[in-house]
């Protein structure tokens, strides 16, 4: 005879990675249905953006996917710069690329460390956060902020790279290559990690596309879609990197895709450092005294590849110094909606791993 239980997880629960509430309908140990309640971190960023000048809004985008702040800024600024027809100098573009990739590494370090915690491995957490700390030191050197950096601004970046920063990045990259393999080995050497990840949380490609899933989750389902490759922004078309996919469609596939992307990020940064040209680091049209007067008119929708997927920003300007409407297409919002399907029929313990592998960030889901 089957026995129904309704189990409540969250909003404040270590396994939810942010504040969501999962109401799980259990048939003994098996998950029948998951009802996700979100909105506990709804901070009305879109409304506040309408009240502010264009330049001021980067800070709200920083705080959307708060572990991957650089890519969020980039997403917003791409839209704003397209709207204003603002050129970005070459050097600034390369600098942005380096920072975006560093930020992606930092974000993945949090995600992988937290995944380790969820399968009961405490050790990788300390290693990943140690690496993240090094990246944050680079950010401090460049922008003054550790996590919510607010480094890029319209028409360029806040501050030029000096030799200290470049050396620090080189040093970090040199150390990180070996360290990454060490961290990955910690996971892949563990029999428990394989057993809990292989075959759980399977996501079929049709369902993923239907639900609008993007990012590592889509690639782990076998579809090689990456905004950086398919519609390149910055200079992603001038560097070599591969888009990894996984055939297994499960949690292990997602983990391996994420790890491989880290290796590719390292590759990109190395090429960027080699190609970094001299020149101005911001467009004089957007100098400090003129910043508040920048106006935009029309509609734009641009996308970047953030840590969790395709991050799109829609802006409508009415020719004013403030945007008329800002909307963010946040990848985590869509990725999270597919959890009930992935978890259906699995054990309750596997649900936790599935949630961890989605890597949703509450700030971006609720905005």
């Amino acid at each position: 005879m089957s026995h129904w239980i309704e189990l409540n997880i969250g909003p404040v629960h270590p396994a939810t990675h942010g504040i969501y509430r999962f109401r799980v309908k259990l048939n003994e140990e098996t998950v029948e249905d998951v009802d996700i309640t979100i909105g506990y971190l709804h901070r009305n960023a879109e409304k506040i953006c309408e009240l502010n000048y264009f330049v001021n809004n980067t800070i709200y985008f920083d705080r959307m996917d708060y572990i991957d702040a650089m890519n969020m800024e980039l997403g917003y600024l791409r839209a704003v710069e397209t709207l204003m027809d603002m050129e970005v100098p070459e050097r600034a573009q390369w600098i942005r690329m380096i920072m975006a990739e560093l930020s992606r590494i930092a974000a993945r370090m949090v995600g992988i460390g937290a995944l380790g915690l969820d399968v009961g491995m405490l050790t990788p957490f300390f290693h990943t956060f140690h690496e993240r700390e090094k990246i944050q030191n680079i950010f401090v050197e460049a922008s003054g902020g550790r996590q919510e950096v607010n480094y890029m601004s319209i028409g360029g970046v806040y501050q030029d790279f000096n030799d200290t920063i470049i050396n620090e990045i080189k040093e970090f990259i040199a150390g990180f290559k070996g360290k990454l393999e060490e961290i990955v080995k910690m996971f892949t050497d563990s029999e428990i990690f394989w057993q809990r990840n292989v075959g759980t949380g399977v996501l079929e490609p049709d369902i993923a596309l239907d639900y609008g899933v993007t990012g590592p989750m889509l690639r782990a389902s076998g579809i090689p879609y990456d905004v950086r490759k398919d519609s390149p922004y910055l200079y992603y078309d001038k560097v070599n990197f591969d888009v990894p996919i996984a055939k297994s469609k499960d949690n292990m596939g997602r983990f391996l895709v994420k790890v491989e992307e880290l290796r590719q990020s390292v590759r990109i940064i190395e090429q960027c450092l080699a190609k970094l040209p001299e020149g101005p680091y911001f467009n004089p049209k957007a100098k400090k005294s003129a910043m508040l007067l920048l106006k935009g008119q029309g509609d734009v929708f641009t996308r970047v590849e953030s840590e969790s997927g395709e991050f799109g920003v829609f802006i409508r300007g009415d020719g004013n110094v403030k945007p008329y409407r800002v909307h963010a297409r946040s990848p985590s919002f869509k990725n999270l909606a597919v959890v009930p399907i992935m978890a259906k029929g699995s054990l309750i313990a596997d649900l936790i791993i599935t949630i961890a592998s989605v890597d949703a960030v509450a700030g971006e889901v609720d905005r």
């Binding site: 979100i38 909105g39 709804h42 009305n44 879109e46 409304k47 839209a79 397209t82 709207l83 027809d85 369902i207 596309l209 239907d210 639900y211 609008g212 579809i223 879609y225 398919d230 519609s231 029309g298 509609d299 734009v300 929708f301 641009t302 395709e310 799109g312 829609f314 409508r316 008329y324 409407r325 909307h327 297409r329 919002f333 869509k334 909606a337 609720d366 905005r367």
Partner: protein, 151 residues
Amino acid sequence: MYKILSEETDKSGMKVLNIDKSDLVELMEDYKNRRYYLSSITGVDMKDHIDVIYHIHNFDKNDYLCVKVSTSDEKVPSITKLWKAAIVDEREQYDLMGIVFEGHENLRRILLPDEWVGHPLRKDYDLNKVQYISMDRDGNEHVSFDDKEGW
């Protein structure tokens, strides 16, 4: 057969199709059969009407397309039958913008509590009228305008 009212290119170089809202489902179905997928739904309050903007995407050709409809009575047909991604998107737009998607099976608020008054992203939403939320023992949320009841 649907009719495209006008076609334009927006600032980011994306093709924009302006259509009437009665043609929406038909057009979307056509594009769905051409392997397009829904990327995002955005509502824009233009004071006398609301623009609803759909971004759809073909992964094979990497083609992005923007479909615009405008509505003066807040009602738009739902496209949840075509793409499941629309379920959360339409709920979000209903919550924040107050667009009623006709045919959506579960059109409730998603980010704010059910009892919230007004739709915050509307231009006429009054930010000075502060609402407060409290919770009873069973976890149900209640909204009031009185700062004694809730936070």
